[in-house]
């Protein structure tokens, strides 16, 4: 198993904290993991990107230059990194902000209206975890349960009341991904 996940967005979208949350969950599941912020496919001012590599064995290069999964939280991120994704890879777009469709046909493209869904859950800040839920559903890289445990560690106790809504976001993301891939529910 090797997943090289590139989370790309702009400051405030929670890409870095999502990456760290995923990395922590991977550690908890005893996997090898490297998290590298900012660097990787490209680096420019204003962007907030990180790469998370999760593997059964020692991670060679921690730089995610050929992602198996791209999370594009905004239009620019899709534009910039779409072509970097490996053939057969996965691109999840935050379709609340990304209007363009994924043009490549050799990857799996899954749009998730993360901001709208987060609003619907009553907390716009959980958009990133809606996306993370989709990543978990489609890759199986770690379980939602481990992410939940990790949330308890990452969030300071005064924010623990936010855990339920974050958990809902993860589950909602997973559900949306399931429905998109298999719309008839078969």
């Amino acid at each position: 198993m090797l997943e090289a996940i590139y989370l790309a967005g702009h400051g405030g979208q929670g890409t870095l904290s999502t990456g760290q949350l995923l990395a922590l969950a991977a550690v908890k599941e005893g996997k090898c993991v490297s998290y590298v912020p900012h660097y990787g496919v490209e680096k420019r001012g204003g962007v907030s990107n990180c790469g998370v590599t999760v593997s059964d064995r020692q991670v060679s290069s921690p730089f995610v230059t050929e992602p198996t999964v791209l999370v594009a939280m905004n239009s620019l991120s899709l534009e910039r990194y779409e072509n970097a994704v490996v053939p057969g890879g996965l691109i999840i777009t935050n379709s609340s902000l990304v209007e363009a469709k994924v043009s490549r046909t050799d990857v799996k493209a899954v749009p998730i209206r993360a901001n709208d869904e987060a609003e619907a859950l009553g907390d716009p800040l959980v958009a990133n975890n809606i996306i993370l839920g989709a990543v978990l559903e489609l890759t199986g890289v770690v379980s939602i349960k481990t992410v939940e445990e990790s949330l308890k560690e990452v969030l300071p106790p005064r924010h623990h009341h936010k855990i339920p809504v974050n958990l809902k976001a993860l589950e909602r993301g997973a559900q949306l991904a399931r429905e998109y891939i298999n719309p008839t529910g078969e």
């Binding site: 760290q20 550690v27 998290y35 590298v36 660097y39 290069s61």
Partner: protein
Amino acid sequence: MSKILMKGNEAIGEGAVRAGCRYFFGYPITPQSELTHFLAKRLPEVGGLYMQAESEVASINMVYGASCAGARVMTSSSGPGISLMQEGLSYLAGAELPSVVVNLMRGGPGLGNIAPSQADYFQATKGGGHGDYHLIVLAPNSVQELLDMTQTAFDLADKYRNPVMIMADGVMGQMMEPVELADQLEIKQVAKPWATTGTDYHEGRNLINSCYVIPEQMEDLNNRLEKKYADITRNEQQCEGYLLEDAEIVLVAFGMASRICRAVVEKARAGGIPAGLIRPITLWPFPMEFVSKVADKAKIFLAVELNMGQMMEDVKLAASGRAPVYHYGRLGGMIPDVREVLREVEKLYRGGVGQ
């Protein structure tokens, strides 16, 4: 043993604390600031002192003073700041004072930028300061190693009474990976009867000095240092080999570049090219013996560095003309991509030995 996710900068700081380092003197510079933020909180927890100095020049001399007291002490910086410390490093080496200096390298020369680089290899391994001296230079390539080697650095510094430099880059400081933290802290504190702690606290009168006006006396010191450096060279070379058994093209890379090259080697092998990797862990002493042995069998060496070709010179010395040594580097804070290094490997292999 528990495995936790840790940031490189924190690993260095925690490694220092676990090595019994209780004094840190430093001056802010990106990209090592997070290390200082960590230690500013962590050291007081263990009764230590974090002090922000007025300059890197002052920092390294505060390190000198605390080392004279027999304390385990550390500073850290990046390119421009490390340059300012060179005089102090020469004095530390001349006065034989154990100390640990972390260089999270950044793009240069000049102010350069804060992106990762390996361009301070010459400075660290070939002098940097004035006079005949050597630092022991360690090049970790993972967060676990940042933790472990920081502890090793203090032991080596005390063992040889010599400054030790840990060379990494800014991205390693930012990187997060799982680390195993030993539950039990084992601090190898050694007796330092030479420390200037006051004559009430030790036998005789201690003098810490690197000034010898009489050339014969200076030469005595130089000879003693030379012997020490020979001992270190004999005992402390550290290196890691990967898939070298049948390798015809051998990549040589340290630190972050070695992680990239490991992936390159795997991909090259998947494509039918018998590639291998040598990863020097000690940059000084450079693992001459290891590289030299590999040079008996390898057909091509490719040094991959985030500089113009600095370590490559040591690879050439070790290969002694038995195999050609090429270089591939990215500069200015750019990181080579696995694919571009792979292309270079393919080009060299197909154009050279693979025929």
